[in-house]
Symmetry: C2
């Protein structure tokens, strides 16, 4: 019952709103309404029929809107029309998040007293005793073998910055929902109210025993590096900072953004043998002689990238490069900057709005241009965790990440992104990661 | 397809085992097998038919066994029979716990790219922003409003003692499974590897933001008192130590066990106006003049109970009392001790085996006798948490607990325990708790 929304138009939609409208049941009146809404700046999504009487049809019209002003204009447009009634306005994004997007469910049957006596007391005591004697049996007889923690302190949530862990919860829930839906992995958010890496490490180490893997999520650099490195050494299960991975040719690469994602991509490329990479932060290119705004992690980065020690702003170092990878801020790259590159492939991945609209990058000469909507770490991480848990791996190695990247690449049809809803794709990524874990 | 197991016989069953046996398909051969098993000391549960061919029937026979020796004897009994084959032996309790008894599930639909864009990036950003600006909106647009943490350090798991948090996980999972099944509350286990109350308080406080309530579970006394008191003050959501509650008349009461449960029951009774209560620990009656084995919490207990400062072992102080509440250790009360009481009501609640078998207590003169199988905190806590979350209460008050106890009592039919599978009973407890929260 849905029309196909125009992708290009809703590209920058900030609001997804559904209007419920009573429309006079006469020839041409729906078309009239749609025209008025389009003129008010709304892009149309699904149109559903929800009720009808002898004189009217009640319809839900989904609208993609760039801002609150457009919403006001759309409301006014409907109110101006004679005989139409705007019954209700619903924020679809809030609605889908109402009561959260995940819940804990019983897996075991609880239909008889006997079930209760086995799942809970007194029967459960024998399971506890078994695990007390042989802790590795927890992998088999608790949820541990299929469960990960998604840990955040909320300091780098999407492009929103340090909004705190509770405000980051909808992202953690969304991630957990995706893990259940696509690979059947059980994930629990862990929100830590702390900015101190040492404290975060200590807390995670003390609560980690029930998880088969730990995913660090949306923790700002450089704290995330120390946390990942220390915990991965200390714990006997993998610790993985998603923003550093999950999203990776002879090419000259420029990376905008020296945070968690930028740093990890640069290192991953270096390990893949891509030896001409320059990383820029807000002060320009990171290089070995730079002193302003450096820290331990950026110094390591300077050692491992930018072999010619180029300096200057992003605009300067982009010239003549063949690949742009943006993991920085919305709207920081101009058409001119893209035009200065050499047949560029553009990954403009800033969240929630990219460094440059894909359409602008293409019209400025990009051979290929994708953003975080087309290319999302959600393609990779479900399979990575499924494979990691299946292998009961102690770490997520470079080989496992590379296997995931290759499986994804193989799943992509000529020039197209892999399809998130292709369950076989997730299975292939998981199997590749599991194999790589076994052989590493 | 199940026979009704004999409750009395399986009462002390430690093992619940299913034998798969190929039984010759001739008149009387099944009866022959059942007789042999019964003679070997096995109590029979369900008998299912799983396969058949021209000469045999394959049956699953569930056995309740008191110990490993009886299991060996049962195996031998089958093997001795001519023409029968023991195909497989399955531990039913382990089997029901395989892969754990809970999992995280997606609540939101994830069937289209549009769903993904609303549940996850980029749409989720607007939910994060809303909560960053108005944190109380997390109650509405995340799982918080329906979610509790079940926190343990594994120091007092059932009657097993300090087996550590991971070995306690099957209990936490079972509890969470019950909460989902009976009242739709989402619960996540939190395992804390620490014996230090201050550290546990700190960790819980730092990770608590996503929960609508905190349940402390199976944490040994006296650490649990300090943890509950401090956290309940510090957090703006209720903190509840289940073992102290969930399981409570002019009467003379003796309580065996001065741990978390015994202490809480004594205080609860005191608040209910029952003023003649004596609490015993392993050193006998707790009283104001005692010095050995006392601590801050037991001193408080001594002030609040045992008004006549009776001393001596449990055996002595039980004489002439009307109510026995056991929350101590298996098999610590004799028939003689029950016989010394005055028309006693006996609650022998030690886990997983009671202080005295119900049958022994009854034959020794108890008017009523129940154990943890008949009377379990699982009757109370689902409704308590449902009502607490529904009321969005900041604490679980005495009034709320009393309301739960009264609703439970009203649900019990004359002389019988309330029925765990009576969903309306859980709803009544929840509603009573919610009302009490509103009026307190």
């Amino acid at each position: 019952m849905s029309t196909t929304p125009n992708w290009q138009e809703r590209y920058n939609a900030k609001l997804i709103i559904t209007f419920r409208v009573r429309v006079p049941d006469e020839h041409g009146r729906l078309a009239h309404l749609l025209k008025a809404l389009a003129e008010a700046g709304a892009s149309l999504g699904s149109i559903d029929l929800v009720d009808a009487d002898s004189t009217h049809k009640v319809r839900d019209l989904q609208l993609f809107l760039t801002d609150e002003d457009r919403l006001d204009a759309a409301v006014e447009a409907v109110n101006r029309l004679d005989g139409y009634e705007l019954v209700r306005i619903r924020d679809d994004v809030l609605e889908i998040h109402r009561h959260g997007t995940i819940t804990t469910r019983a897996l075991a049957p609880l239909e008889t007293i006997m079930d209760l006596r086995m799942v809970y007391t007194p029967g459960v005591a024998s399971v506890c005793q078994l695990i007390a004697e042989r802790p590795e049996q927890a992998w088999k007889y608790t949820a541990k073998g299929n469960k990960i923690a998604i840990v955040t302190n909320g300091t780098a949530v999407l492009g929103l910055g340090d909004i705190g862990p509770l405000a980051g919860l909808p992202v953690m829930e969304g991630k957990a929902a995706i893990l259940d839906r696509f690979v059947g992995v059980s994930a629990e958010p862990v929100l830590i109210d702390s900015h101190d890496p040492a404290e975060i490490i200590e807390i995670v180490a003390k609560i980690a025993s029930q998880y088969g893997a730990i995913q660090l999520e949306d923790i700002a650099a450089p704290a995330c590096f120390e946390i990942e490195e220390t915990l991965d050494e200390r714990l006997d299960v993998p610790v993985f900072h998603d923003d550093q991975h999950g999203t990776a040719t002879d090419c000259r690469v420029v990376i905008a953004g020296a945070g968690a994602a930028g740093t990890a991509i640069a290192r991953f490329l270096a390990r893949m043998g891509v030896d001409d990479v320059i990383v820029c932060d807000s002060r320009g290119a990171v290089h070995a002689k730079r002193e302003a705004g450096m820290n331990e992690w950026k110094r390591r980065l300077a050692d491992e990238t930018n072999r010619d020690n180029l300096d200057g702003p992003l605009e300067k170092v982009m010239k003549g490069r063949t690949v742009f990878i943006g993991v920085s801020r919305p709207n920081t790259v101009s058409r001119e900057m893209i035009a200065s590159m050499d047949e560029p492939i553009v990954f403009a991945l800033a969240n929630p709005v990219s460094e440059i609209p894909v359409t602008d990058a293409l019209s400025a000469g990009a051979v290929v241009a994708v953003d975080g909507r087309g290319m999302n770490n959600a393609l990779a991480y479900p399979g990575i965790f499924r494979g990691t848990l299946d292998a009961r791996a102690r770490s997520i190695t470079y080989e496992m990440k590379l296997a995931a990247a290759e499986a994804l690449a193989a799943s992509a049809e000529a020039g197209l992104m892999p399809d998130m809803f292709d369950m076989a794709m997730h299975r292939r990524v998981a199997d590749a990661v599991k194999r790589a874990a076994g052989s590493s």
